[in-house]
């Protein structure tokens, strides 16, 4: 039966036609199962000798472009009156009988099919086995709105959207330089997603650009629909929980990184830009830092470093001092914590781990729920259950305060990926210190620091410039210097041009 079908199909084929030839029937064979792909046979100037096939995807093209700028001239343009055969017509169109800014000619079947699938309209000349491709993309896209997760009160309010070309144009509008290179490649065996590699030709280190290009070209996946596909491909060590690729939804952040000599990657369909190589320090720099007075932003940044340390170690430290080393706390504090624990059946470490887990549950539930129900979850979870648990003496109030502070501190991290990494390590440290107290906490911290120190992204130490031997460490790390002192680009990137103003 199966064999018959094949035989029947092969009988239908015209014997002289090769399946790789660029003809409308070949395209039809590959694409005709989907009704949204439209095939329209038309005759130029109503001449039965001049048949061409118009192919496009309904919904992805702008119908006005197709009818007004392609079909109408084919039928009504006077120039076509003198045309005798198809090759004349082809030459005429090629030379501008149809006004269209983005038109290319092609005689490769796969190339034409890719163009159709990305929203172009194609005029196929069966006899010539050639086609002319018009870029008539016109599908619905989201407007450029304010960034949702990287807000600033003072500064640009535009963000990336899902359409690659819009994103690259936003970037071009910010950096009007001939040196801004936007290379294009295609990733994803099935999705064939366009991906742009963006860098400043006169600044970026060639080795990094080459490494990024190699990694993207060597990427063997069928799709790049989620950020994680690209992030893991661009990461140097996928077993580390710390983010090695900075994802941003702000074109100004990407621009600043490009001008420092980093390389950006934008994927069609993902409203984010990925920046490599990313160092630990970058994840703690908020866009707001550069829009405020340097004294204010330096103080805020130092606070952020403190909060990073607190949110990482506070639960573990509480476990250590409450069940191993209570002599470390002031006497009055110990007694008030001890009083708050009267009647609570669980040991401190269990209580703390329980609350950490409860916080993660509330956090996760809040993410999953629709926006308006999400608030209900946090109110029920945090206020009602929390209050009841304290009153029923299942949890001591000290732990509730502690975990709440830890959670709020973790929300001050400018980068959500860093915040997630800290969540993981917070648990590891809490478990370490519930086994061995302060000793365990220190062992955990040593292991974490070891992990961070070992990490290299594109040959650059992850902790640079903190681990650098150069004296320019403080430029833009723990504090932010005034702009006039930040004359040089980051040392660790080994850029072509080290001076910012040159």
């Amino acid at each position: 039966m199966l064999k018959n079908i094949f035989e029947k199909n092969s009988n239908e084929e015209k014997p002289q036609e090769n399946s790789n030839d660029l003809t409308s029937s070949n395209i039809k064979k590959l694409l005709s199962k989907s009704p949204d792909i439209k095939f329209r046979e038309i005759f130029i100037n109503d001449d039965k000798n001049l048949p061409v096939t118009m192919i496009y995807i309904d919904g992805m093209t702008n119908p006005m472009y197709v009818s007004d700028f392609i079909l109408k001239p084919l039928n009504q343009e006077d120039k076509f009156c003198d045309v005798k055969n198809l090759s004349d017509a082809y030459k005429l169109i090629e030379n501008g009988a149809i006004y269209f800014a983005a038109q290319i000619k092609s005689d490769v079947l796969t190339e034409v099919i890719n163009e159709i699938l990305s929203g172009a309209s194609v005029l196929v000349f069966d006899e010539l086995k050639r086609a002319i491709v018009f870029d008539t993309k016109g599908y619905e896209k989201r407007a450029i709105i304010e960034p949702t997760s990287e807000n600033v009160t003072k500064g640009p309010k535009d963000s990336f959207i899902e359409v690659l070309r819009v994103n690259t144009s936003t970037l071009r509008a910010k950096i009007k330089s001939k040196n801004l290179v936007i290379e294009q490649t295609v990733v994803g065996k099935q999705t064939a997603t366009p991906v742009s590699i963006i860098y400043m030709d006169n600044i970026a280190n060639v080795n990094i650009v080459n490494a990024v290009r190699e990694k993207l070209n060597g990427l063997d996946v069928d799709n790049v629909l989620s950020p994680s596909y690209i992030e893991s491909a661009l990461s140097s060590n996928i077993y580390s929980v710390f983010p090695q690729v900075k994802a941003t939804e702000r074109p100004d952040v990407l621009s600043a990184d490009l001008l420092e000599g980093r390389v950006g990657v934008i994927v069609d369909g993902i409203p984010l830009a990925f920046v490599v190589p990313t160092t630990f320090i970058q994840l703690l720099q908020a866009p707001e830092d550069y829009s405020r007075n340097f004294i204010v932003s330096s103080l805020v940044r130092m606070l952020r470093y403190d909060l990073l340390f607190l949110t990482l170690t506070l639960p573990a430290f509480y476990i250590a001092v409450s069940s191993f080393n209570p002599e470390l706390l002031p006497t009055d504090l110990v007694i008030s914590i001890a009083e708050s624990k009267i009647g609570v059946p669980f040991p401190s470490f269990f209580e703390t781990l329980l609350m950490l887990l409860a916080f993660e549950v509330i956090f996760e539930a809040g993410l999953r729920m629709p926006k308006n129900i999400g608030q209900t979850v946090s109110i029920v979870g945090a206020l009602i259950v929390g209050q009841a648990a304290v009153q029923a003496k299942i949890i001591s109030p000290a732990v509730v305060i502690l975990i709440a502070f830890t959670a709020i501190a973790s929300f001050t991290m400018p980068n959500q990926d860093l915040s997630n990494a800290v969540r993981v390590w917070r648990f590891i440290l809490a478990i370490c210190s519930s086994i061995l107290g302060l000793f365990g906490l220190i062992i955990g911290l040593i292991v974490m620091t070891y992990n961070l120190c070992k990490l290299e992204v594109y040959g650059i130490p992850y902790l640079s410039p903190l681990v650098s031997s150069k004296e320019r460490i403080l430029d833009d790390t723990l504090i932010r210097f005034p702009i006039k002192f930040m004359k040089l680009r980051p040392d660790e990137l080994n850029v072509k041009n080290k001076k910012r103003e040159g």
């Binding site: 077993y239 209570p326 007694i335 009083e339 609570v344 000793f439």
Partner: protein, 400 residues
């Protein structure tokens, strides 16, 4: 990549092996539990009556549950426990035989030693407190004068005032009158370990209280009164009141205080000590040691009873002279007391050693004899700087 992962795993495993696999005993990971501990705040050491054992008295705060109301009036907010043992450590461990909570010593702030034990040998009983890791070296050591530490704790602790809190307040306020001084365990040990100079510790006693709430009728008030002076780890004499401050003058520990002198009309004048400097100058001439203690003091006039205008040069000079006399008297009373017993809490031996290190080698063996015969001259130079908001007394305008 693989190498890195292996390193990472090794780094986790090594500490685990070190901590877990070093013995066949089951691993006790629980540590202590803060909610189930009794935090000892002060400990008193006595000799038990009859059998010669050590008797410890500890005091800790009774923990009040968050939602519970404050304790009823009359009910004590503290727990006082006693325990006996052949040694201090045995007595400490004996608390575990009856206490319902873990006894935790990490927050012990005060070590109270009875006069009786201090006269015997104080170092014997402090050894445990310096050696054990759970105890703090910054606990304050206080000698209880004239009674057992147990009585002191039981009578000094009232329903409204928690004894360690009172002691804390008293010790932190010692600078206000400069009669005594707070001394931590580590400091005390350093003093006792110094071979020649004598150690001194603050001394506390109970006095009769004026008014006490119902239920506290047999309670008394605590005062810190001067110092207990030691000779070879044994208490030999107390320097109280003026002699206490006298000691502080010479050891440069007077921070503030009030000196009351009489002006020309016989009215009292209060002078507040603002700034003190002192120098000990030993002079060795022809094998004879003479020591000069120079005290320089600045004070402010803070109160006067008479209506006289005191801010006149002559009057000020007169007041300064009276002030010199008062300071001199206090210092000399301390020196007299110390020399009488052959005690050197002032650090004079130290000053001699630093100035004459070679001669000191010869003097060191019969230092006590030399010290007893040495003339210690005190020179006081004082100065009244200002009189705060106004110079003349408020009554002076009426007089005119």
């Amino acid at each position: 990549m693989k190498n890195r992962l292996v390193n990472f795993i090794i780094l986790i495993i090594i500490p685990l092996i070190v901590c877990i696999l070093t013995g066949c005993e089951t691993l006790n990971v629980s540590g202590i539990e803060i909610g189930k501990s009794n935090f000892i705040r002060a400990v008193g050491i006595d000799k038990a009556a009859g059998n010669g054992n050590i008797r410890l008295t500890v005091i800790s705060k009774k923990k009040i549950p968050m939602e519970g109301s404050t304790p009823k009036s009359g009910e004590e907010a503290s727990i006082v426990m006693n325990s006996e043992g052949k040694t201090v450590f045995e007595a400490v461990r004996n608390f575990h035989t009856f206490s319902n909570l873990d006894v935790f010593w990490g927050h012990n702030g005060f070590i109270l030693i009875s006069e009786e034990l201090a006269r015997e040998d104080i170092m014997k009983y402090l050894d445990f407190f310096t050696r054990d890791h759970e105890l703090r070296l910054n606990a304050k050591v206080i000698i209880v004068k004239g009674m057992t530490a147990e009585t002191f704790i039981k009578k000094g602790n009232t329903s409204s005032m928690f004894l360690p809190d009172i002691l804390n307040a008293l010790l932190s306020e010692t600078d206000g009158i400069s009669i005594s001084k707070s001394i931590e365990l580590s400091e005390a040990i350093t003093m006792f370990e110094n071979g020649v100079a004598s150690a001194y510790l603050p001394c506390a006693e109970l006095i009769d209280a004026e008014k006490k709430p119902q239920g506290d009728l047999n309670k008394k008030d605590i005062i810190l009164n001067g110092f207990a002076l030691f000779k070879n780890n044994q208490l030999s004499e107390f320097a109280t009141y003026g002699a206490g401050r006298g000691l502080n003058w010479i050891t440069h520990n007077v921070k503030s205080g009030i000196i009351v002198v009489k002006d020309k009309t016989g009215g009292d004048v209060s002078l507040e000590i603002i700034d003190v400097d002192r120098k000990i100058k030993p002079v060795l001439k022809n094998g004879v040691l003479n020591v000069t203690v120079e005290i320089e003091e600045t004070s402010n006039l803070d109160e006067q009873y008479s209506g006289e205008e005191l801010f006149v040069q002559d009057t000020l000079k007169y007041l300064e002279e009276r002030q010199n006399e008062a300071i001199l008297q206090e210092a000399q009373s301390a020196i007299y007391l110390a020399q009488q017993y052959g005690l050197d809490p002032f650090g004079i031996s130290n000053a001699v050693y630093h100035k004459y290190p070679i001669e000191w080698e010869k003097m060191k063996n019969n230092w006590e004899e030399i010290y007893k015969g040495t003339e210690i001259v005190v020179k006081v130079k004082s100065h009244i700087a200002r009189a705060y908001l106004f110079n003349n007394p408020i009554r002076s305008s009426k007089k005119k």
